[in-house]
């Protein structure tokens, strides 16, 4: 398994509070991604990073921000959590050699986030 650690693995919080999820990799991969998984929707991209301090929005980025100050860490922040952000969040990484778009992404085991 790729060296990807997500923390925390489970979190329960209240509406309106800020929440930060962490993804840590030991593979030195350039690309990192945050997805959310919801029943009936598959996985949807929230934000991605193509290098340190280089990030961009995915298809469901509203209400989320990210930061990447080091190659190995990619943080996802819910600025003011809402019940609609209750989901399972996955981090993924991929290599950058050659045509990076044909490199498979490797996933962490997810964070289950419940917002009450």
């Amino acid at each position: 398994d790729a060296g990807i650690t997500q923390s925390p693995r489970h979190k329960v919080t209240e509406t309106g509070t800020p929440v930060t999820l962490r993804c840590h990799q030991t593979e030195n991969h350039r690309y990192m991604y945050w997805y959310r998984q919801d029943p009936g929707h598959g996985l949807r991209l929230i934000h991605y990073s193509y290098g340190v301090k280089d990030t961009d929005k995915g298809e469901v980025s509203d209400g989320y921000s990210v930061s990447r100050s080091k190659t190995e860490d990619f943080l996802l922040t819910l600025e003011s959590a809402t019940s609609s952000q209750t989901s399972v969040y996955f981090c993924a990484i991929s290599e950058s050699w050659g045509d990076h778009s044909n490199q498979p992404q490797h996933f962490g085991d997810g964070t289950r986030l419940s917002i009450l």
Partner: protein, 115 residues
Amino acid sequence: AQSVAQPEDQVNVAEGNPLTVKCTYSVSGNPYLFWYVQYPNRGLQFLLKYITGDNLVKGSYGFEAEFNKSQTSFHLKKPSALVSDSALYFCAVRISGAGSYQLTFGKGTKLSVIP
């Protein structure tokens, strides 16, 4: 725009029988296609990919997939199903090219292999 359809929410198959999980895609440009498997409380695991060349792609755990450009399909297959193959399967598509970051997933197909 790119999209993936997995027309079956659930597929049931008897152990030892061949299995097929269907996937069709829509993309403007040359596609890169992927299959992933997810076991309960785990992340997605990469099974195989199609980039170019031979339309039959072989992957992990005895799985293979057939790329059909005219039908825009990329169905996952295995000659003989195992109970341990029971899981959630996702097809995904990406446009080829250095500027492409978006990997679009289907909604998933739950495979149940019955002993």
